[in-house]
Each structure stands twice: as C-alpha cells, then as structure tokens.
C-alpha cells in the first residue's frame, strides 16, 4: 500500500480491500515512526484525519466516490486550513489556527480526500532547503545529513519516505520542482493562474503557484484534476473549461520535439546531474522524440530579476504580520513603532528579514526604476525567450537543479549559493509557464537527480504525457530511499 499509486489506492478503496480509516492509520503510523527523524510534518492531528477518513468511508459505502475519496494527502503548511494550525513555517504564525479553508484545501475536501497533516517548509516559502523553517530543518529521506530541497521540502520528503501517498506544495521560484528533484519524487508547478491562490499564504503573488507532489506523473495528473479550476476569489485565477489532465498520458512520444536549452547545460551544472539528464534525453530519443537545440538567451538574468521582484512583493505581502490582529506579538514594547519592530524582529527569521529588507529597498523612492521596473522588463524578455523557443519545440527539457542535494548547513551561510539552486526553475515562474520535475537517476552519494520539463501555457496534459511515457520506460520514480523501507 505504501508504494501504491493513487489509482491503485482508489481501486483498493472501491473494492473495499482497505478502508480509508485503515489507509489513513497506515500513513499516520508511518508519520509517527519517521517524523521524529525527518521532521517533514509540522502538525499531525490523527483525530481530525480519522474523522475525515470515516466520512470518506461512508461516501465510499454510498458509492458517491471521486478519484481521491478516502486517500490521505499531506498539505504544505502554507495552505490555510480550517481548524488546523497554519504556520507557514514561521514563529509569527506559530499560534495561528486557520479560520477558513484555502481553495486547494476545499477542493481536496470536496473530493473526499483526507488531510493527513501539515508539512514543514521554509519560512514563508523563502528558501531552497527547508532549513529556514521555525520548526527546524527537514531531512532528506535518502540521507538525513542532506537537505530535501525547498521550500516544499516537508511535502517532498513525506512523499519520498512514503509517509504520504501525495502532497501539495507551492512554487514561487522552484519550490515544488527543486525539492521534488532533490528528494527523488515527481512535482508539478502548473501555469500561473491555473490553481487558485486563495488561502495560499502569499510570498510573491505574481509568481506563487500551488501544485502537487507525488510518486509519478500519473498521480500528479490525478491530483491536478482536483486542484485546478477557476476561483472567483482569486482575480488572477484563469477562467477556462475544466480538463482531465490524464487524457494524454498514453499518447506515444514519436515526433515530440524536445527543446534543449544550451544555457541550462553550461557552467554551474554538476557532472553527475548533467550525465543523468543526458541519459534521460537519450531515453526520449529512444521513445521517438527529437532533440532540438534551443537558446534561452536571457535565462542568466532570471536569478537577479527574481531576487528583485520576489522580495519586492514579499516585503508588501508580509506587512500584514504586524502583531495587531493575529499571530505573534512581542510581549513588551514602548510604543506602536516599537511593537512593530519587536514583533517582526522576533517573529521572522533571518532569511525572511533579509528579503523584506531587499524588497523594501528596491521599491524605495529613487530605486524603483533601477530595480523593480528593470526586473519587470527582464521578466518580459525571459517570457519572450520561451515564446520563441516554443515555436521550435513542444517542451523544454533540462536539469531541475544544478546539483543533487547538499548537506544541511552547507549553504545556509551563503544566500547567493542558495539562490543559484533555482537557476533552472525560476525562468518558468517569471514567464508564468508550467514546469515539472521527475526523477531521472542518481548522482553523487546516491542522491536523486531531477529532470525538468517546461511546457507552454496550459499544456500540463502534454507535459504529463511526456513525463508519464518517460516513467513507463524507466523506473527511477519507483526507487525508494533505503533504510526507511517498511
């Protein structure tokens, strides 16, 4: 059961081979056993989960099931969840119990899925290693001395360690794809606007997008079916007809044009990662796909542009955490300004404070044009690079991250090194394009390597098809970390 696909779990539930309560207990047991060492979950509430499971079992008994009914799903602690502690990995929200459900949570609840728990994350999703969490770092299930990637590191680790069949995450600069790569699971960041941001605590609004993490592309498709869809409460949500993202899974890849951007294979790419990606490209050729060399000439500007735009938006988005209405408030203060200062200095960790400062600076009078406006122009150039690329290819493929997982603490003191982790994933966020990562082998210290697939706007079904065909031909996604097997 721990290794079963979502489709298999749904079948087992439908055939009453297992009940949702039993399934939920199984995974809760896994969490109880492993969370002490991996720290993937911030909050687990067995009673709440089991009561949802009981409701799901009733639904199943009545035959009113949907594909996810009765299946436990772990949610990144960035999604506001009614009655659940929702911390966003921060001290400032360490006492915040969700008074409402995020759109994504609503969707899973409506589908009859069970909330398995809330997963650990970099504080306010700011990080690439899940080390900035107020609740301590998450360990990589493949080797606990290493980071799982971030910011959705808790979700990635939970799926990798088979503590959850599936999980949700959010991706602002790579926060689903990079931890998926570093933890050896599959993760999808949909087209901006496909999944409602309502109830997803904002980091950088124009870049944030929720998406699923799971063991396979097929599972991702099923999860995306539940997550995607128009929501009038999010003005950036895109109104379009619902689709079944599984519909193209079985299409053969013959004739597929795979764009390979030379900029993503140059300096900075570790040899082990490069070799695994090259092998994957050869695998695609075997499946009948064609390799098309492409250029993304402005991709080198993506990290600096991102580190202007994302902190700028964050500096404003995080202003609401002021100790006035909810969340942490400093115990002692002299006056209002002192209350703000102490509350926010105590409540936010170093990385969050750094980004608020950067963001405040780049939006300041006299600097706005030179930084924010310039970064927005670069953003346009990067999006145009992809427009050009997609005239010549169907998907863009490369490495998800330049290296495999690094040791906990190795980059914690060097923000720029940390930021460069997302060099290949950030362009898709800046352009608003969908991207996914699937396991494609192992590198140094037997750590997983991720393959990055970027598609055109709203081409998730096509990308999932590409990933699924690859996973049918390979078994990297079926490998699981040694030492934590059941």
């Amino acid at each position: 059961m721990l290794n079963a696909s979502l489709k298999e779990l749904a079948a087992a539930l439908a055939q009453k081979k297992i009940s949702s309560v039993e399934l939920t207990r199984l995974f809760l047991g896994r969490v109880a056993k492993l969370n002490g060492s991996l720290n993937a979950f911030i909050t687990v509430d067995a009673e709440k989960s089991l009561s949802q499971a009981r409701a799901a079992d009733e639904r199943i008994a009545q035959g009113a099931t949907q594909p996810l009914t009765g299946i436990p799903v772990a949610h990144k602690d960035i999604f506001v969840t009614r009655g659940w502690l929702t911390t966003c990995g921060s001290k400032i929200l360490s006492n915040f119990v969700g008074p409402y459900d995020a759109h994504v949570i609503e969707r899973f609840n409506d589908a009859g899925a069970v909330i398995l728990g809330k997963t650990n994350m970099d504080e306010f999703a700011m990080g690439s290693s899940t080390e900035t969490s107020f609740y301590g770092p998450v360990k990589n299930p493949w080797n606990p001395a290493y980071v799982p990637g971030g910011s959705s590191g808790g979700s990635a680790a939970a799926v990798a360690a088979r503590m959850a069949p599936a999980a949700t995450g959010t991706d602002t600069g790579g926060s689903i794809r990079q931890p998926a790569a570093l933890s050896g699971v599959s993760g999808l960041k949909p087209t901006y606007g496909l999944v409602s941001r309502y109830g997803m605590i904002a980091f950088a609004s124009s870049l944030d997008q929720g998406g699923p993490l799971a063991k396979s592309a097929e599972d991702l498709a099923l999860l995306l079916n539940a997550m995607a869809g128009f929501d009038a409460r999010d003005s950036t949500s895109v109104e379009r007809v619902a689709e079944d993202y599984r519909r193209e899974l079985d299409k053969p890849l013959a004739g597929l044009r795979i764009g390979v951007p030379k900029e993503h294979f140059g300096e900075g790419l570790a040899g082990d990662v490069g070799r695994a990606v090259e092998a994957a490209l050869e695998e695609f050729e075997k499946l009948g796909a064609k390799r098309v060399p492409i250029g993304l000439p402005n991709s080198g500007l993506s990290v600096p542009a991102y580190y202007v735009i994302a902190p700028a938006e964050a500096s404003s988005n995080l202003s609401r955490f002021d100790g006035v209405r909810y969340g942490h408030r400093a115990k002692e203060y002299r006056d209002l300004a002192d209350m703000y200062r102490r509350t926010r200095a105590e409540g936010f960790g170093a990385e969050v404070r750094r980004r608020i400062l950067i963001g405040t600076y780049v939006l300041s009078h006299g600097y706005y044009d030179a930084y924010y406006l310039k970064a927005q122009k670069i953003r346009r150039l990067i999006a145009n690079d992809f427009v050009e690329a997609f005239k010549r290819c169907d998907v863009v493929v490369g490495p998800t991250s330049p290296t495999v997982a690094f040791k906990i603490g190795a980059k914690a003191a060097d923000p720029v090194q940390m930021y460069l982790n997302d060099i290949y994933t950030i362009p898709a966020n800046l352009a608003g394009l969908p991207g996914l990562s699937v396991p494609c082998g192992f590198g140094r210290d037997s750590l997983p390597v991720g393959l990055h697939i970027v598609g055109n706007y709203f081409s998730e079904a096509k990308m999932l098809n590409v990933a699924h065909q690859y996973q049918k031909a390979t078994d990297w996604h079926k490998r699981e970390p040694a030492g934590i097997q059941p």
């Binding site: 999604f79 997803m200 003005s235 950036t236 500096s315 404003s316 209405r325 009078h365 924010y372």
Partner: protein
Amino acid sequence: MNWEIVIGLETHAQLSTASKMFSGASTAFGAPPNTQASAVDIALPGVLPVANKGAVERAIRFGLAVGGEKLINRRSVFARKNYFYPDLPKGYQISQYELPIVKGGEIRILTKSGEKAIRLTRAHLEEDAGKSLHEAFQDMSGIDLNRAGVPLLEIVSEPDMRSAEEAVAYARALHFLVVEEIEICDGNMQEGSFRCDANVSVRRPGGPLGTRAEIKNLNSFRFLERAIEFDAKRQIEILEGGGKIMQETRLYDPDRDETRSLRTKEEAHDYRYFPDPDLPPLVVKGEWIRQVKDTMPESLRERHKKIVFYGVAAQKADLHIASRNSSTFALSTFAGAPKEEVPTLSNWILGPLSAKLNEENLDIRDSKVSPDQLRELSKRVADGTISATAATSVVLPALWEKEGPVDEIIERRGLKQISDAGAIEKIVDRVLASNAKRVEDYRAGKEKAFNSLVGQVMKETKGKANPAQVNEILKRKLAG
C-alpha cells in the same frame, strides 16, 4: 503688496455600493465595531482582493459626467501604497497610482465673480482604512475595521482655485454632482462620505507657485473655508515676516479654528507604490462604458427642461432641481396634471409642502403628502369644490396628518364652497346692511373698503363662498 492664494483640492467621495471595494462585506455606516469586517478586510493570511464592479461603474459615471468617454482610461492599474498603521490591516492600501481610471475633466463653479471652470487632474479608485479609537480605552487604542475597504473615489483638482470662496464653490459643485446628478455617493459629510484635503499655498500674483501645506480631512464646507482662510493668513504672515513655508501636512482644529502641523516633508512616508500583483490591470472596454452611459440617471438639466415644459417658470424650475429627489417628486406631480394647474402645484411644493418638510426635517422622498394627492387637491380647487385657501390651509395639513383621502377631508371638514348665487346674495345683502360705513368709504373711492367687505362675506360663510362669485356679486350690488 498683495498675495494670491492658490488652492487645489483632493476629495474622497465614498462610493455608494452595498459591498466593499475588494470584499463582499457590507458598507453600511454605524454597525457595532468589526461586525462588517470580512476575512479580506482584516487581512487574514491567504486572502485576496476582488475588485467591486459597482464601484468601477460609479467611477465610470464620474468620468462621463466631468468630460466624457475620452477621460476614462481603458486600462488602469491598482497599486499598493505601503505603510504601517493598526487601522490599515494589510500594511498597504490598494489605490491607483500611475494609471488612474479617470484622467482630466472639469467642474464648473459659480461665484460672485462669475462662472469658472476648475480643471481636474484625475480621479482614482481606492479603499478606505479602518478607524483607530483612542478615547474609548485606557492606555490602549481600539481598532474598528468596519470602514476598512470601503470604496472611495479620490478626485484631484488642479490648483485652479484662488480663494476659500472658490474652493467651497468647487466642493459644493462636486458634492452636488456626485450626490444629486450621478448618484454615486450619499454625500453625508458627518459620516465622512465626502471629505476634502486642501493644498494651500500663497504667491505674488503672476509669480511661481509657493510651497504648499496640505490640510487633511476637512469634513464640512465651513471647515474647508475656515481652514483655507486660516492657513493662507498664516503663510502670508510667515512670508511677510521674512520666513519660509515648510512643505507639511496640517490638521484643522475646528474648536480652536486653526491649523496645526501633523508632519513635515522629512517625516513623510515613502509609500513604495507598486502595481498590486493580486489584481490584474482594470480593463474598461467601450461596450462597458456605453452600458454605464445607458444606465446613467437622467441629468437634472434635462429634468429642468421637462419641468419648464410642463408649465413652470424657469427660475422656479431651478428650485425643483435642487436635488434629485425633489425633481423626481415635481415630475411625478406634474405628469398627468392639466397644464393650467401646474403653476399652482409647483407653488404648493415649493411653498407649504417644503415648509412642512423643513419643519420635520424630512427629505421630499419621505413626504407624507404624495404627488397623487396633490393633483387630486388641485383638481378640487380647479373645479370650484374648494377654495385655494382651504386647500393649502386646511386640506394639505390634514393630508400631511394622514387624515384620509382628499374628498373625504373636504367632506368631513365641510369645506365645499357655496356656489349658490342666491345664498351668497342674501349674505352680501346682510353684510352691506350692517356695514354702512364701509360702503360709504368704498363709494368715496377707498378701494381697501372693498376687501374688508369681501372679508366680512367670507367670514359669514366660514370661508366657503366662492371668492370670485362673492367679488362679482358685491361689485354688482355696490355699483347698483
């Protein structure tokens, strides 16, 4: 040497939508604190703004009214104005900065020195902040977020006004426009639905603009006038004493009738405006503008024409369009009335009915006498059933007190006129006989004596004699 005062106004008009600018919470005034603050208004984590279509349509109306379709930006952008304050839950206010929904336009004002056009710079949509209550708690401040997120249209004028009188005329004209003409604001100044910030500077005529002071939150026309007068005087005194004006924000204190510094330019916030990434640019297509245009309230100028067409003199018609409600009342009264009765109906509305409304401090919309009743009443005067005096002095007050239908009141009060010539003649004879002195006076050329005789006859008939008939019979008898 003389000084010229230069004034520009920034006016916040609260838009009369049922729900807030970016949330579904109610905008009704006066609810218990924080009962009209939704998750969006209190800025819970994860919530997002959705622009209120009704507020946008009101802004479009404004653009159409101050200059037409060309003033409405087909694409405008919501921006965040960042600053920390406890009654600003998000830590930023959503406003419009570089691209407002309305650019340009003008408001025409009338003062003693004649008509003048005041140019508008722009009008933009934004949300209001909540309220801080410093008095109610010891050593603490209370925060009421009911007002947080209420939609505002900020209307910015060019510095085209040259006196407090002009500024007040502009503010009044703007108030009339948004409240009465295009009905986008309830205009209640005590409740803060219409408030002005005045930018005031002084200069030598023809010279460059002086440094300005911005006087915040003037919520009455009188305060606006007093604040400008005080501050202009203050500035002139400083300059004449050899000093310099500091650019600053000031507050007007109505109790002491003076302005006081709130903060100087150095203390001013850097608001770090940037486009709100939660809200796509506001796109207003021509089709939408046309829809708004089609649903615009009929202009009061148009209504004036109609009222004149019904038979009211132009100057009196001006009084009927003093508010939208009074024009509505007048039009529904005149519609269906015979043309010759319209002047009387008009006089009744502007005279006795207005007096009653004032007395009870009622808007004409809540008049206790309806247009239909007024028409029935005037019909009874026209057909000679009752006298005009009886109509206004007896029936109208009775209708006001809801004593029943017009005919019932006439009947019950015994107001029917005596039109029986024989009966009147007998009374006239009696009056003439007992008023020999007056008769003599009249015959000696004292016209006044005639009126006194008419009065006597009316008194004898308790006012029920048809006055025209009385006149005619009296004249005949006196002549004979």
